[in-house]
Symmetry: C2
Subunit: 619 residues, 2 copies
């Protein structure tokens, strides 16, 4: 059994130690794969198992793990994804981030399911994984280059234009704590500062090329699922036509859109920056990830007042809000330029935009002055300042050095109550969706192991438990709608289900935009692996992964007190639909405790008991 | 929606008040049926909803509920079952008992899903339900008669030999707390003293006749399941060839067989009373329940030294152990006679045998003397005494009156430490399977709302989590065997799953002997009802039902301290395979607490929190 290659897996983990240059391969058995699934599951398992508590995230003891799921690179639409994780330098928690594009599928075809990067290279290197062979190569000549130059140089050097590259730009090299890792030029593993970890290891890139896809146990069953999606493209018609953020105008109206560091509600010029505006002005096309017919990636080109290189794609919704409305900016071209810069420098647009918005508010409040900002008038709406700051952050120059460590550290330096409007949880800046509108999302921000990541809870897919969503939930026992503003026990139970579904997706390597039901996901896993699996097993695997992640954080000193939202969410917005609707702290605390209960952790401390760990085979 | 008749249901609840003679019908809607399913679910719902805490179980305020499940009377093999419940006069807890035969299917065809009996008739009556019409009829002439005479008289009176009758004999009339309700002459709703509740209401019988089966949403899907079973009859070949108890000799060897009030292990003459011996000697045939091809019911005939009427069937395993080995009796004919008497008098063979075994041990210990027993030498192995006591118990005559209230009350009267070997939980005498061999079963005895019922946890089906059983469990996330003697967290999780499965079966109206997987059960529900349901929903419904039952008990004053086993299980057996294997009380307490945790109840008190109730829609 130990060496059996099961469907969907290569059955091999690549381990690369950059300190001593050693490269080795470990095999996985069927039981291991079934227990941890892949992707986020593998990442979490190895981080929990192999990292000692208290290690320095930017030191050689941290490990950077890239993992594909059993679906990654299959023909299932939406399965072009992989997961990356490490101990986060931004938050000190476990970090994991999902990313699309083409790298994951190519990595899978190169013969591995995961690669664990250990240690630190003496000088810049990149890793090449090519049809089952791995080699560490010099990257001194690539250091300092942006992502486009880096990819091109590697492709030229290897003489293969089809090579796929995951890499960092100067942001990662300079250990900016918001640095991301880019799969190509517009797919980012954004959250948690993984780019800084890569930079700290002197690892510029991982280039992959492969020609052998793992076998699929039942290609027919997978084909059926693909055909189902193709016959139901209307379910993703918004994404296909507009990409992410199609309802942005509606979100401004209902309060979901963050405006000026989450302070305000109204932003009438949303119509100038939303995906409709993009389509009408700067958009020149749409692209998609490996094997996916949805093609939700905007491609934009701008000629003046500055050029925006279309190779860097166009802004996702998160970017439109983070660099746009949340900075009070309604200049679409500037946002597109900011997006290009972040992708070129490998900066997470959410955290980068958030720290800029936070600094703008500090500036307007007088907590930062033009002395601190090298003379930049850091006011809401100042698009030139936003662009300038991205450059400075990436290079850690001037005021950029102040912002390059994220909102928590900046708030700590500023003091004087600034942390109350530093919009983060556990150090991770919040995704661009409003907990005051969707308290279930707020609960997700609170308890998600890697902080305020909107992607941990399928916020828009399932918080509206009605219509087709309710039909999906009924076979799970959720028979009646759970209102959006509810945060009682029924919402907590629903949240737990959607949180676990997200982990399933992240572990399988499937995009959460695709409208697969729980049952279809289980079917997809069965089709690929040949296991007689089902929803129950999938949820149990997700509980195992989530509990390991929680344990990781507990060992790092995190407690239930860290599962908390910043103060601003408990205050009303200044205007708009949520002007009189702050979150209720008592209700949120109660929801948190009930969430612990439903996870069978200690209801008060949120600590998984030894019994729970034994039951979940976390040993 | 409210009046829609969904597949599998009549959509009607019959309510009969025997105090004022009123008869009414209530309709159920789709959501209600989906939330509570039927059978045990309906019974638990109405008892929890309608009974005030503290009512006298044998007074007019108690309600006796008969309910069919959506599968009852369908063509699915094993679906000839219904549930009966009330507040138990034996334990004071909620009581429910499942029963096979033909009554449930006929009741369903008579137009109802459940009948709620309220109040108390002034003089003996029986209820006739005939094609949607219900009437209360005089039964004064039936009072005092045994079950066979009763059924015959009703059939004669109504001129219909096909009428099915659920009824009590003298045991129920005399309010014997171990009295059961008989579906026909050899299918008993045995546990919890439901026969006494029926007797207390002066209700002798419920006669049913109907001609209209509820529609089935997808007969084809149900047919597939039926065909699957027919193609897999080897999975139930033991039951089909021997009926219950085929492995009795093996159980004597491994310690599962209770011997002499659970004190001893060895019982070499097991070979004289086991189903093989029955087949070789007194068996004249096998019968089955409605629509079931398994035909596991032994039919026996004895001519001398006393006649055993074959119309009363033959002893199940529980009876062979309860009236046999646990009383130290190896006279098969006497056991068969005891079985006949219990069925004729409507006495639960488990509780009746248990109280006799307990009295025998008390007698041997000198805690009871021949003065107490009207001169009967109440020693282990005395088959004549056993038969005599059944008569006396049913009639509450002499020493029978002492035994007619069950082991707990008898132990209380005797005092002097007798309760330590009164083998019951919450007043319900234990089913004939050994917790010291299967601690997971012991946990079931502890936490089951209606006491030490072996049927609450599919003990023999799933405690061996290996082979085909493990294959069934894998899609639920149980990937590795859980050893039989384990009582750690993994066993607790497994127990929870099997306990919930039993509740699903009991609510659907399906026998737990049939080897259906969780998924097949969900498929069967979907096939009958047309709901797009699945395992998750079924388990959630079961959690709802179980939590309501726990709540019922809590309102009656039961606490976690009542979830405990009698002392003897923590002592070794005197001999045999378990001579050095007592249960560990600390481990059992820990398992209990973890079970509460997995049920999302309070880990220490076992009380479902208000949040849990709200989440499960128990309002």
């Amino acid at each position: 059994m130990a060496n059996q290659t099961r469907g969907g897996y290569n059955g091999k983990i690549l381990r690369v130690n950059l300190s001593d240059g050693s490269i080795s391969t470990e095999t996985t058995d069927d039981l291991f794969c079934r227990k941890f699934l892949g992707g986020a599951g593998f990442v979490t398992y190895f981080l929990w198992k192999e990292l000692n508590p208290g290690i320095e995230p930017l030191g050689p003891d941290n490990k950077l793990i890239f993992a594909a799921g059993p679906l990654t690179g299959s023909l299932l639409p939406g399965s072009g994804r992989n997961c990356i994780g490490a101990k986060s330098p931004l938050s000190g928690t476990i970090a994991k981030s999902e990313v699309g594009g083409f790298w994951g599928a190519e990595f899978k075809r190169a013969g591995y399911d995961a690669v664990i990067i250990e240690g630190k290279a003496e000088k810049p290197v990149y890793l090449l994984i090519h049809d089952g062979e791995a080699s560490i190569r010099n990257a001194s000549h690539l250091w300092g280059r942006n992502t486009k130059e880096t990819r091109q140089a590697i492709r030229d050097e290897l003489g293969d234009r089809s090579i796929r590259v995951a890499m960092i730009g100067p942001g990662g090299e300079n250990l900016v704590l918001q640095a991301c890792i880019m799969n190509g030029l517009y797919d980012a593993a954004g959250r948690g500062g993984l780019g800084a970890v890569m930079g700290s290891k002197n690892l510029k890139a991982i280039a992959v090329r492969g020609h052998k896809a793992p076998q699929i146990a039942s290609p027919e069953r997978l084909k059926e699922l693909r055909e189902w999606l193709l016959a139901n493209m209307h379910l993703v018609s918004d994404e296909a036509e507009y990409g992410t953020g199609a309802p942005m105008k509606f979100w401004e109206a209902n309060g979901n859109l963050p405006v000026r560091n989450w302070r305000d509600g109204l932003f009438p010029s949303v119509k100038m920056i939303d995906p409709q505006a993009i389509k009408d002005t700067i958009r020149i096309g749409m692209e998609g990830c490996f094997g996916c017919p949805v093609r939700c990636k905007k491609i934009v080109r701008v000629e003046e007042p500055y050029a925006v290189d279309s190779d860097y794609g166009g802004p996702e919704y998160e970017t439109l809000a983070a660099l746009g409305s949340n900075c009070g900016i309604d200049n679409l071209k500037a946002i597109a330029k900011g997006n290009e810069l972040c992708n070129a420098y490998s900066l997470d647009t959410i955290s980068t935009g958030s720290v800029i918005a936070f600094a703008m508010e500090c500036f307007e409040k007088g907590l930062l002055t033009s002395k601190d900002t090298d003379g930049i008038e850091l006011r809401f709406g100042n698009d030139e300042a936003m662009l300038k700051l991205i450059e400075l952050i990436a290079k850690r120059e001037g005021v950029g050095g102040l912002l390059a460590d994220g909102v928590v550290r900046l708030a700590q330096r500023i003091g004087r109550g600034a942390e109350e409007f530093a919009m983060q949880v556990k150090g991770l800046e919040a995704g661009m969706h409003e907990p005051r509108l969707k308290p279930g999302l707020g609960l997700g921000f609170m308890v998600n192991p890697h902080g305020a990541d909107h992607n941990c809870n399928m916020h828009d897919t399932l918080y509206y438990a009605m219509g087709p969503k309710l039909e999906e939930l009924k076979p799970l026992g959720i028979l009646e709608p759970v209102p959006r503003d509810d945060i009682g026990p029924r919402k907590v139970a629903l949240f737990r289900l959607v949180q676990l579904k997200e982990i399933i997706l992240d572990s399988m390597g499937v995009c959460n935009f695709l409208p697969y039901s729980y049952e279809q996901l289980a079917n997809a896993t069965a089709a690929v692996t040949g296991w007689d699996t089902g929803i129950m097993e999938q949820l149990r695997v997700a509980e195992r992964i989530l509990t390991m992640a929680r344990l990781f954080n507990i060992h790092e000193g995190f407690t239930a007190a860290d599962d908390k939202l910043p103060r601003r969410y408990f205050q009303p917005k200044t205007d708009g639909a949520l002007a009189d609707k702050p979150l209720d702290p008592a209700k949120m605390e109660k929801a948190k405790s009930y969430y612990y209960t439903l996870m069978s952790w200690d209801a008060h401390t949120g600590v998984p008991t030894p019994e729970r760990l034994e039951e979940l085979d976390i040993v």
